[in-house]
Each structure stands twice: as structure tokens, then as C-alpha cells.
């Protein structure tokens, strides 16, 4: 058996974003992994310090397009905590609806790409066709398929009237049975099971030791969901369970994501049923005094934490965010150990990496 190194990336047909991996191989088995990051580093931590809070709402949204609503939501939450601003209840509900719609779209995208990577192209097309319904929802309610532009300091800047709620419910009724069917396919189809069961295993102990979060950790049995542990917005008033799976392989991660799509659709329905009347945002312009705050939300990929320091002016003194994909990269060497080269793209996709989030 020969030992040699093989580069994967930074531009690779199976990777969505550029990341440079150097694999240590023995024959076809992976024995080690080196990650060389930095291809999408845009220096956003510098840019946010040069812009005022309003401009930063737009700038933080553009850190990532799949988690794009979680970033301004968490940023506004940190600002609201420093400024002592209370978002009205309807504003909270609308924020949750926006977040859950994004979660459905993001998770369906990831499981679809997984099908694409294992070569099951017709299933990939089918899942993305279902996801197109969610993209239409986003375009109709918010005006853009990805960057919702939903948040402002003190609430949201969009509203739902009877017509848009009726539209949303109609389309949710189309998505829900389709997601049920997709869930069944992924649970039972032999092509998927053979390719993904037992691949890229992450033991529970390592998930805890390395501080992983999100669907990756939940697929290894770590029961940590920010919406339950550190509630925010109106999650305390909603009824949902944290989805976990015990095995920690690629299949478990995809199943956790599909389980969460079902939970998200249910949460949106609950929100629409309980949606209160009232203003959607605090009127006027906010005053943000000097201070510091930490805000956490559950982005589609896991726990997103923002740390904000203000000094009384309308530009942040320091804004730091740690995205859920950041700690997950470190677990890749463990997951890839003793798997074959053919599974590299599959395992990388299973952690649902967002390189533009990680490198900012």
C-alpha cells in the first residue's frame, strides 16, 4: 500500500465553495486531512466596523445567503439588548416565520445536494423542485429568493396580510406531503442507505469534546438546540421537539435535517395560527448606548453567536460573530478517518459547510 498526498479543491466539481483539502492516503483509504482555508476571506469584520448599524443590517445579511436571515436577526437582537428595545410580539412572530422558512429551504438544499453527490440525480432534481416552492414563497412574501431583507432594529420591516397568509398556507400544504414523501425515500431507499450509512461517523464523545453544534452534533446524539436551551423571540410559546439521531453518520445528519424541515413547517403553521395583531417594529430611530451584549440564535446550520460592543456612536466598536460551520470543520479529520476518497465530497457536504460564513 502506498502512502501519498492528494489535493482536493479549492475548485472541485463536488464542492460548492472553495476549500483546499490535502488528504493523506494509504491506497484509497484516508488516513489524515489538512485543511487550508482562506479563499473566501472578505475581511468582513473590518467592513462592519466601518459602517453604521443600519448599513450593518444589510451587510450582515450578505455574510451568507443560505443563513441570510439568521445573521441580521441575531445582530438586531444584540443591538436590542444593549439598547433595551422591546420588539413587539407580532415582530417576533414574523422573525420566527422568516427564520423557519429559511430553514426549510436550506435543509432541503443540503439533502438534495447529497443525492446529487451520490449520483442519484433524479432525486436531487425532485428535492430541489420541492424547494422551488419555498423559493417562490420567499420571493412573494419578501421580494427576493435569498436575501429576505426582513429585519430592522426593533422589529421587522415586512408584514403579512390576509392574502399573503393564505398564499403561504396554500404553498405549505403543497410542501408538507412532498417532504413526507422525500423523508420516506431517504429513510428506505437502498441506494441512499448503502452509500451513506456508516460513512463519516462522528462519535458522541468527540462531538462534545470538539464543541460541535447544529444538525451535525444532533445527529451524534448531542441534544443541543438554541431554540430550546437559550430561548429567544417567541420560541417559548411554540411547541416543538429537538430532533436527534444516535449514529453520527452521513445518513443520520441528512435525516436530522429532514426531521427539522418537518418541525419547521409545523412551527410556521403554529405561528400563523397564533399571530397577534399590532405593530411589527418599534417606531422611530433607536438610540444605542455604550455596552456589550451576546446574542445567540439557531441558524439552519446550528448555533450562531454574535458579540457586539458599542461605544455610544452609531458604528459598532467591535462586532464578532461565530458561525455554526466554524467548529464543524475541525471534526472533518475524525469523520474522514478510514473512509475512501470517493466519500470526501459526501462527508464534506454532510457537515453542511458554509465557507463564506466561516471565513467572512
Amino acid at each position: 500500500m502506498t502512502r501519498y498526498q492528494m489535493p482536493v479543491g479549492p475548485l472541485h466539481v463536488a464542492l460548492e465553495e472553495p476549500m483546499y483539502f490535502k488528504l493523506d492516503l494509504e491506497g484509497e483509504t484516508i488516513k489524515g486531512l489538512h485543511i487550508s482555508a482562506g479563499h473566501v476571506h472578505r475581511g468582513m469584520e473590518y467592513l462592519v466596523m466601518k459602517r453604521n448599524f443600519y448599513q450593518n443590517i444589510t451587510l450582515t445579511e450578505r455574510i451568507c445567503s443560505l443563513c441570510s436571515n439568521s445573521h441580521p436577526t441575531t445582530f438586531c437582537m444584540a443591538l436590542e439588548e444593549i439598547g433595551g428595545i422591546a420588539v413587539p410580539p407580532r415582530g417576533h412572530y414574523l422573525r420566527v416565520i422568516a427564520d423557519e422558512i429559511k430553514r426549510v429551504a436550506s435543509n432541503l438544499f443540503n439533502v438534495g445536494i447529497m443525492a446529487h453527490i451520490i449520483g442519484f440525480t433524479s432525486l436531487f432534481m425532485h428535492v430541489l423542485e420541492t424547494r422551488e416552492i419555498v423559493q417562490d414563497i420567499k420571493e412573494t412574501l419578501y421580494g427576493n429568493r435569498m436575501d429576505l431583507g426582513a429585519n430592522c432594529i426593533g422589529g421587522v420591516k415586512y408584514n403579512l396580510n390576509a392574502e399573503s397568509i393564505a398564499y403561504l398556507i396554500k404553498r405549505l400544504n403543497e410542501i408538507a406531503p412532498a417532504v413526507e414523501e422525500i423523508h420516506r425515500i431517504y429513510s428506505t431507499h437502498s441506494s441512499i442507505l448503502t452509500r451513506t450509512r456508516g460513512v463519516g461517523v462522528l462519535p458522541n464523545a468527540i462531538a462534545l469534546e470538539y464543541g460541535l453544534i447544529g444538525p451535525v452534533a444532533r445527529a451524534s446524539g448531542v441534544e443541543y438546540d438554541v431554540r430550546a436551551k437559550t430561548p429567544y423571540a417567541i420560541y417559548p410559546e411554540l411547541d416543538f421537539a429537538t430532533m436527534t439521531r444516535p449514529d453520527g453518520d452521513v445518513w443520520s445528519r441528512a435525516m436530522v435535517r429532514l426531521d427539522e424541515v418537518k418541525v419547521a413547517i409545523d412551527l410556521i403553521r403554529q405561528c400563523l395560527a397564533q399571530l397577534p395583531e399590532g405593530p411589527v417594529a418599534v417606531p422611530g430611530l433607536p438610540t444605542i448606548p455604550a455596552g456589550e451584549a451576546v446574542a445567540k440564535t439557531e441558524a439552519p446550520r446550528g448555533e450562531l453567536i454574535y458579540y457586539l460592543r458599542t461605544n455610544g456612536s452609531d458604528m459598532p466598536e467591535r462586532l464578532k460573530w461565530r458561525v455554526p460551520s466554524y467548529p464543524n470543520w475541525d471534526a472533518l479529520p475524525v469523520m474522514m478517518q478510514d473512509n475512501t476518497v470517493a466519500d470526501v465530497a459526501l462527508i464534506v457536504n454532510s457537515i453542511d459547510p458554509c465557507i463564506s460564513c466561516t471565513e467572512r
Binding site: E292, K296, Y307, K320
Partner: protein
């Protein structure tokens, strides 16, 4: 949540030399955040070990310089930990000119990437780090990237330039 914070506070009282502050805030969702300021970087490892003892997890590390925008020799590093939902932030103030801080990697494995990041952004050295290589920024660029004036961005305040607008104004008359 608040239970764990109390336990950590007790452990700090036992193991840390006095001279630190410990504040706790609870927001309207009953989520607790604790804010600790250490007086010296030697207290960092004992504090981290106490947190690990109660099952805490490192979220992230935010380093920053005290005087924004200009090269400064005074830095603060904020370590954010998760205590089963509650966030504990420990801020260590580095003395003027001090650039060394003990690495947390022996206690928390995921401090690895975080420390490599602040090493390249602010030129602070995490002593004892197992792999002190660059994370996102190329080796050919000098360290302390956020402190150096990157001429173009600073000149235009990281936004659209004056010469760009001159072109736009010039062509306004030719608009169909």
C-alpha cells in the same frame, strides 16, 4: 442555567486569585449572561479549567484592540463560553505591549481555530498552541491585518469611491 453560573462563580472564588469582577444579567426570556473581567492573563487557564469542570463549552474568542482604527498596543480578548444555554464571557485585558496569552487548547480542543484567527488578525501570540499556522490569511501578508491601514479601503472608507461617482455624474447627461 443560573445554577451552572453560580457553580462556576464558586469555583472561581476557590481557584482564582482575587482581582476579577463577575456580573450576571438575566433577560426577559430568563436567559442568563455572565460577564467576567480578569485582571491578569495568568488567571485564564484556571478559569477555563473550572468551566470545563462543570461541562462548559467554548463558543468563540473575540480579540480586539482598545483604540479602534489606529495601531494600538493595548488589546483585550473576550472568551465566550456556553454553560448549557447561558453564555459566560471572560474578558482579559492585556497590558500595554503585552502580546502573549496562554493557549486554551489543552483544555478546549476547539480553541485551535479561534486562536489561529486572532494570531493573524491582531498579532497576539497564543503560547503553547499546537499548530500556530495561518488560518485564512496568506503567509506573505504581515500579521496584525486589522490594525494596518489597508490603503484603498481606508481611503474610501470601505465604500464607493469619489472617482466612481465622478464617472456617473459625467455620464448623466448622456442618459437615454
Amino acid at each position: 442555567m443560573i445554577e451552572l453560573i453560580r457553580q462556576v462563580e464558586d469555583l472561581f472564588n476557590q481557584h482564582l486569585t482575587p482581582g476579577y469582577t463577575f456580573d450576571t444579567r438575566i433577560n426577559k426570556w430568563n436567559v442568563a449572561t455572565a460577564w467576567v473581567r480578569l485582571s491578569s492573563s495568568e488567571q485564564l487557564l484556571p478559569a477555563a479549567t473550572s468551566i470545563k469542570q462543570v461541562g462548559g463549552r467554548l463558543h468563540t474568542i473575540s480579540a480586539y484592540q482598545r483604540v479602534e482604527g489606529k495601531p494600538s498596543e493595548i488589546h483585550e480578548i473576550a472568551y465566550h463560553f456556553d454553560l448549557d444555554g447561558a453564555t459566560l464571557t471572560i474578558t482579559v485585558l492585556l497590558a500595554d505591549g503585552q502580546r502573549d496569552i496562554p493557549s486554551l487548547t489543552p483544555v478546549f480542543h476547539n480553541a485551535d481555530w479561534n486562536e489561529r484567527e486572532f494570531m493573524e488578525l491582531y498579532d497576539i501570540n497564543a503560547v503553547g498552541h499546537p499548530n500556530p499556522t495561518r488560518l485564512f490569511i496568506d503567509e506573505n501578508i504581515d500579521a496584525a491585518v486589522l490594525q494596518k491601514f489597508i490603503p484603498f479601503s481606508d481611503m474610501v472608507n470601505a465604500a464607493s469611491t469619489k472617482s466612481l461617482w465622478e464617472k456617473i455624474m459625467q455620464q448623466r447627461g448622456e442618459k437615454q
